[in-house]
Subunit: 461 residues, 2 copies
């Protein structure tokens, strides 16, 4: 990377207004929600309008060895869209077209389209795009693909990866490649699509994707159960996943319930140790049977209050409670948001361990979880005015990752490694696994130009 890179050449190759280098404007593209303190204003921001623009930019960057940081809506939580001095940010915000193929039941979406726009376009023709990260109203499909984003319905319907049938991707030298298509099954050659999904812009820049759509699911039944402890709730989760397939299976701990109730005054039981939210979709009698099975298991694990409903609006209201959890916790102080996942049977040990970590470091950790697939979001809360608290929060944050790894889990279930979790990746993968990651990176990006510093620490290439 060189700050002497001939930016004028790039200006000349792209239409007016596409490249901006005014620091007052580029500073807005400097970081994502992880607010990495190492972020610096980039050399320039390229607000691409087509795959060709991306190709032009990457070919230029390749010639001059300039780093490139791709960016969707900047809602990433791991610092995957963090700029540095001398790099150019490729912003996909202007590539936001969504086109539904009602015959093939797929959506073609440009990377900058919002998740909700794909959902809406599908819904208009009676179809459904399931992946629903909490930020679905404001995050882009490109970002979802980059991090292999999940959400509430993944426990039954899968993550972003499971819906990507095709993509257009621009490689580090500017070559554009089309992969896959609208066919549902394909065993021809290595699955490069699956390699690019979740690669956080470090192997290529995905500019357009073809997404599988499903028929809309039948209306859901919803159950909410209060448990005396978080551990008891996780034990119920384990039993539930052994016998049925709820479409949503979410957990909120006591701290989270308290925070949501303080914000909303919805009448949640502040005395509850934890709350489980389960939904079941399917024709009415089927989902009712499933909810009944869930209810029985919850009782067995000591649930005190259980409420279930077939009313859709009421069900949505409960789901909304879950979606409000993070904003509610954010009112308690500054936060460090975790994303660790463990095998479902390790959930009780994980939540117990997190309670100990909170005590030992004298910080608050609220736990929200996509419990059905073992993916948890422990949120470390601290007072930003007190430097000692920040240090304690960082210690706790690291301790939670260490704990998850001890329990054969992952440092990230759906947010990605970005820059925030990069230092823990070697511990999770082991030497041989990490070496393979570098093998891939070297093969696709030998000059380390694509999102340099994300996912992997640079090594000599």
């Amino acid at each position: 990377m060189s700050s002497l890179a001939p930016l004028s050449e790039l200006f000349a190759q792209l239409p007016s207004g596409v490249v901006i280098d005014n620091p007052d404007r580029t500073v807005r593209y400097m970081s994502d929600w992880a607010r990495d303190p190492s972020a610096r204003p980039p050399l320039a921001v390229v607000r691409v309008e087509s795959t060709e623009h991306v190709s032009t930019t990457l070919a230029w960057a390749h010639r001059h060895r300039v780093g490139v940081v791709p960016r969707g809506a900047g809602t990433g939580l791991s610092g995957g869209a963090t700029a540095d001095a001398g790099v150019v940010v490729v912003s996909l915000e202007r590539m936001a077209a969504v086109d539904i193929d009602t015959q093939a039941h797929v959506a073609k979406a440009q990377a900058g389209a919002l998740n909700i726009e794909v959902k809406r376009a599908a819904e208009e023709v009676g179809l459904w795009y399931p992946p629903d990260p909490s930020s679905y109203e404001i995050c882009t499909i490109g970002g979802n693909v980059a991090t292999n984003a999940g959400g509430l319905c993944c426990v039954k319907y899968g993550v972003t990866r499971d819906f990507v049938l095709g993509m257009q991707v621009v490689l580090s030298d500017g070559t554009a490649v089309d992969l896959g298509g609208t066919r549902l099954k394909d065993a021809a050659g290595y699955s490069l699509i699956n390699l690019f999904v979740g690669s956080e812009g470090t192997l290529g820049i995905v500019t357009e994707v073809t997404l599988r759509l499903l028929p809309q699911p039948a209306p859901s039944s919803t159950l909410v159960a209060s448990f005396p402890t978080t551990v008891a709730a996780t034990q119920a989760v384990l039993d539930i996943t052994g016998v049925c397939r709820p479409s949503v299976l979410e957990l909120m701990d006591h701290t989270t319930i308290d925070a949501v109730e303080s914000m909303t005054s919805m009448g949640l039981d502040r005395s509850a140790g934890a709350l489980l939210l389960a939904r079941s979709d399917g024709p009415d009698p089927a989902s009712a049977a499933e909810i009944a099975a869930v209810e029985e298991i919850c009782r067995r694990w000591g649930a005190t209050e259980i409420y279930s409903t077939d009313d859709l609006e009421e069900g949505e209201a409960f789901t909304q409670v879950r979606r409000l959890a993070l904003p509610a916790i954010e009112r308690l102080g500054s936060i460090l948001l975790e994303d660790v996942g463990v095998p479902v049977p390790a959930l009780p040990d994980l939540v117990e361990g997190i309670e100990e970590i909170a005590r030992a470091n004298n910080v608050t950790i609220a736990v929200i979880a996509h419990a059905g697939d073992g993916n948890t979001h422990p949120v470390v809360v601290y007072d930003p005015q007190q430097p000692a608290q920040l240090a304690a929060a960082e210690t706790a944050f690291a301790a939670v990752m260490d704990l998850a790894l001890q329990l054969k889990g992952t440092i990230t279930g759906e947010h990605g490694v970005g820059r925030l979790k990069r230092d823990w990746l070697p511990q999770q993968l082991g030497a041989a696994g990490l070496a393979l990651q570098h093998t891939i990176k070297r093969a696709f990006d030998p000059h380390n130009l694509l999102n340099p510093g994300a996912v992997l620490l640079p090594e000599n290439v």
Copy 2:
């Protein structure tokens, strides 16, 4: 590859009986069901008993630049397990352990375990391993992973890829790597698991996998509908997939119906142009509603006879009819088995085009299809005694792949490229896509030792 490779060194490094080099015995490991005429007896067969044995073999092969052909049960249909003079075959047949983790709801299976053994072990504890290639009673999990095998239930439950949570894989230099684990979600680093799934033993040898299990599905309702033409049946398929999610949606054309009836005398309607088999699982009222929706669509597309049943045994009998299709067709002559897939809306054009190809080349082509996901198995039937017929069959076989590619399909939906379809891969992927495949191959196997000649033509590395 050198026939002068010091095999004695390998004999010395492995227990007695693991390596065999008697041509009378090694010849049995020479080819798979594709019976590639270029197959030659290998230098030796290593019947590995552990991942360590695989490591030892690959490290030896790496030192001496000997090609290695991995092999499961040899039921592959694309020539992916074809030996050549001078290579060693690594047979996984002795690594067949299956262990169910009833807490985490996963199966740990060694690569040589049969698919049916995983299914049975899961069933014993009330769980379910869905992928069900037609050969599930005799094919190995390792082979399923190598080809990303599909089957009848994939239309709703996904292919092998969707169930692989972890694996142990040995790289070309003999290094063993553990990837993934029993956690359900993981966004940490590039998804190498997804790269190895479907790589047909050309990037590494998978020795053990951790497979996700699901709760057993509720009993199925089953529907069988006769259509005047294959095209009409495919049009019904398109409409069905737009509104519901049958767990099986299979098609048999007239030739297939005729062949099955000749073999079984089950009372199938020989006058039917095509037959659709649909199943729906879920609690009774739910699946009944789904089957009713399917029935209505079938009527709309001119189905003459429609029969549906909630009786499980009867439903299984109908499914058995579908599973007997290939053996029945094989009684008509020698066959070339296709595996092309197209986007579901292109199915009518595909089946029409196949009829034309059959006429033009004066051969019989029977069509069986996993219609719900657009994956078809046109079977070209010819008389092996007549050289002209073989040539015509080969021409037709190629024409079907060309047609599928014209319709934006794939040359293989679930059998893999192997050696049989390798020459068509460049046409499907295009120059840039093919170059990326070679990038991957070079990065993982720079000396082209792993299953040389499968999937990709060797290039200068």
